[in-house]
Structures are given as C-alpha cells and as structure tokens.
C-alpha cells in the first residue's frame, strides 16, 4: 500500500528554530492504517499533529501528506490539503454559536456543497454518531462525550483521506471514550481512512495489533 504520510529527517521547532521539539524524525504511514503516537507530556505529540495539518511549518526535512510537502506548501494548497483531512481535538473545537448540525457539515460547507446535500449529510452523520435528536441544539447544551461525537461526525463528513486526532478522549469518561474509539476504528476499517491518534496512553479496548510510534528525546520511533 502507498504511503499517505511520509516524514524524512523532519525537524519541528518553535521560536524561529531555537526551541527544537522533534529532530530528524523518519516515519511513514500507509493508506488505511490506524496508528497511535504516544509519548510523555511535552514530548511533541501535539506539535507533530499541528505540523500534519499545516499549522506549524517544519524547520527541517520534509513532511509529505497526500503527495504535498507541508514544509514548502503554498497557502492555497494548504487550504486544499486541509479539506481532505478530518481533525479531532481534545477540546472539540466546535463553533458554539452554530447548531450541532451546522458544525457537522462545516467541511461540506467549505467544499461548497449545496444546502440540501449538507442537510442530508448532517442527518446521516448525526445518525451515525447517535446524535440525531440533538441536531438543532448548540454544542454547549451537550455533554463532553456528545460534543466529541459531534467532532468525530465533522471529521468524517467529507470522507477524509486522513483523520488526525489529538487526545480525542482526553476529557471523557470511559464509556464516552469507548464510543469515540469505536467510531474511529469503524471509519478506518470500513472506509479505509488513515487514522493517526496522538495520545499519552493507548486505550485497553484495542485488541488489534495497530502500529505504535513513540516520541522520545526529540525522535519518533516505532514500537514493535
């Protein structure tokens, strides 16, 4: 299978390159893989994820996603790349003044789909995450677990090539966490979406031998 993500001698830093977080990292992730990236707090997990959706430009090496190098990508191409990504955040990053349905179809709205298509897709996605009855509510009227399911539905809205998840269950109880993991695992298995999860600890519900990378001493290493 082809690589969807490929990092070569990747270096990520803040403060104009003075504070290096990741140095000379090499790794590849293939289409349809479910990958965990773990590491202690402050090791650079979220920094790596930020680089993957182009919010942080690498200071060295290359980071290729879907054939585009985020180190040298133009603003226009970066916007296009992001429309092929589904991103899930620990703090959900929902728009609180929008309804749940509108939040879910944000990627479709950006892609210019008609309102009819958006409405149909909102119903389908909310049914998928078991939130149909909450379509017209606002995010702050939902529990944390429900808000994260909205986040997952939004990430799945446009059948993304890659789902990037930053501590997606960090603020949730065990039951809600298991629901979220199920949704992401299903997306990977049924839609062949590549799922990359950054988390401090791999949940115990995962029985399948998924690939696992660890960030340690500025390096990214695969755990066998």
């Amino acid at each position: 299978m082809s690589n969807v993500i490929h990092a070569s001698k990747l270096t990520l830093a803040y403060d104009n390159g003075r504070k290096e977080i990741i140095k000379n990292a090499n790794f590849s992730i293939r289409k349809g893989e479910f990958v965990f990236i773990t590491g202690p707090s402050g090791s650079g997990k979220s920094t790596l994820l930020k680089a993957l959706y182009g919010a942080l430009k690498p200071t060295g090496g290359s980071l290729i996603i879907g054939g585009l190098d985020v180190a040298t990508i133009s603003t226009g191409k970066l916007q296009e790349l992001r429309t092929h990504l589904g991103i899930i955040f620990q703090d959900y990053k929902l728009v609180n003044e929008w309804t749940v349905a509108k939040n879910v179809v944000l990627p479709l709205m950006i892609a210019g789909y008609s309102v009819d298509v958006q409405n149909t897709q909102a119903q389908r996605l909310l049914k998928h995450v078991k939130l149909s009855e909450h379509a017209d509510k606002f995010p702050l009227e939902l529990s944390g677990g429900e808000q994260q399911r909205v986040g997952v539905a939004r990430a799945l809205a446009k059948n993304p090539v890659v789902i990037l998840a930053d501590e997606p269950t960090g603020n949730l109880d065990d039951y809600s966490s298991n629901v979220i993991w199920d949704l992401m695992e299903n997306a990977c298995q049924q839609l062949e979406t590549t799922v990359l999860v950054v988390t401090h600890k791999i949940p115990t519900i995962f029985s399948l031998p998924y690939r696992h990378f660890i960030i340690e001493s500025k390096g990214v290493y695969e755990v066998h």
Partner: protein
Amino acid sequence: MKFIKNHLMFILPLMAILLGIEFYLVFDRTTNSYEKRLKEGYTMFVVTKTPMALADFQVLNSHIESVEAIDRKEVVGDIVKGISRNNTEKILKALPYFYNIGLNAYVKTSELESIKTDLKRENSIRKVETFGTAYSASYRLFTFIKFTLKLFIGFMGIVSIFLIIKQMEIWKYAHKRRMQVMEIFGAPLMLRSGILFKVAVIDAIVATLVTALIFLYLKFEWAAQSGIEIMVKNQENLFRMGDIGILLAAALVIVVVAVYSVVFSSSGVEE
C-alpha cells in the same frame, strides 16, 4: 436586545465618523461660498499717474483678477460745480487715475501686504489702499471659525476611531474561534471573513442612510424653517445627493480595514 446592541456598537462610532465627514463637506462648501462672497465684496483702491489696464496690474501680481476704473468726473463732481469748463478740464487733466482692484482669492493679510508691495514697485502707482484693518478682522474671524470646526471634526474622528477599535476587539473575541476552526478545516479567507463582512457591510449601509437622513432633515426641515439667514442662503450646500456615495465609500473603506484587521489578527491556530 444583544443583537441590536452589537450592531449599534459599530453603527454609532461609524456614524460619528460619517457625520464628521459630512460636516466637513458641508462646512467646506459653505465656507467656500462665504469666502467667495467675501472675495467678491473686497476691492483695494489704487491711484496711478497714468492709465493702466488689467494686464498691467496682473504683471505686477497674479492675484489680481479684475480692475474697475473709477470715473474721474464723478470723483471731482462736487468740487467742479460752478467752475468753468476750461478750468474743469485742467483739474481733470491734473487728476490721477483711480481703480478698484478685485482679487482672485480671499488671501491672507500678509499676502495682502505683499500685493501692496508688488503694486508699489510700479512707478506709475502713487497710492495703494488695502483697507487692511477691516480685512484682517474679517479674515481672522473666518480662519478662527474654520480652524475651530476642523478641530472639532478631527476630535470627533479620533474618538470614533477609538470606539471602532474597541468594537474590533469585541468582533475578534466573538469571531476568532469560528474563524480559526474554519481555517483548520481549509476555509479560504473570503469564507472565513464572510459572516463578519456581511454584518459590517449591513452596519455601514445603515450608518450611511441614517447620516444621510439626518442631513436631509437639516436641509429640508430645519434649515428652511430656522429663519437663520446664513442657513437659508446655504441650504443647497447642506446636503447633496452625491454625498451619499462619498459617505458609503468612506463607510465601506472603514469596514474593509476593520474586518480584515480582525480576520488577519485571528489567523493561525492557537497554541
């Protein structure tokens, strides 16, 4: 209620700026017309040894716009009563030539003195009377009123700009998260700023229309019925339909600058 408050917080300072701009336009037109009347009402008096034409005076100073020769017979009319025709002609022959000179602008007092100096350089000119004292008093009053109003308009503009900056901070607070989320999911700048832009453009149109209505009321109701001579005389200058275009353009420029300042300052994903 919150919706109205949010709109008013941008509309009111924007209106203050537009009122300032419209006041300036009205003031400029009114003072121009007043200045024109002062200019037309002013002439300096010149006495020459030989007859001189307009071109002769214009060579001496470019501010000179018109020359009116004063009939010498009228000047000596009362003196020559009862004097023989022969003697009258002798008196007339001995008399210098008198001119009223009009200028092309309402010049500064110092400029008036400079014109006098230029004229006096010509040997043929015997006397120049500028009526400087009266002119200076009118000119000082006129410039003082002009300066005071400009200062007031400037002050109003500065206060309004601060209020708009305050509103921009509120916009930033209210729209930052939405714009960042949209940016993360690949929304282009126009789409991200679309909602804020739409709100601001509506506010700009409302502010322009309300400002125009205020001045239309001043023009057709208040000025006409005020009985104040200067208002009635300058009614036409109080508001012109073309001003709506100027006000709308100014409001839209402010909106574009304000909205894009908010959008660019909200760009980038939070650490």
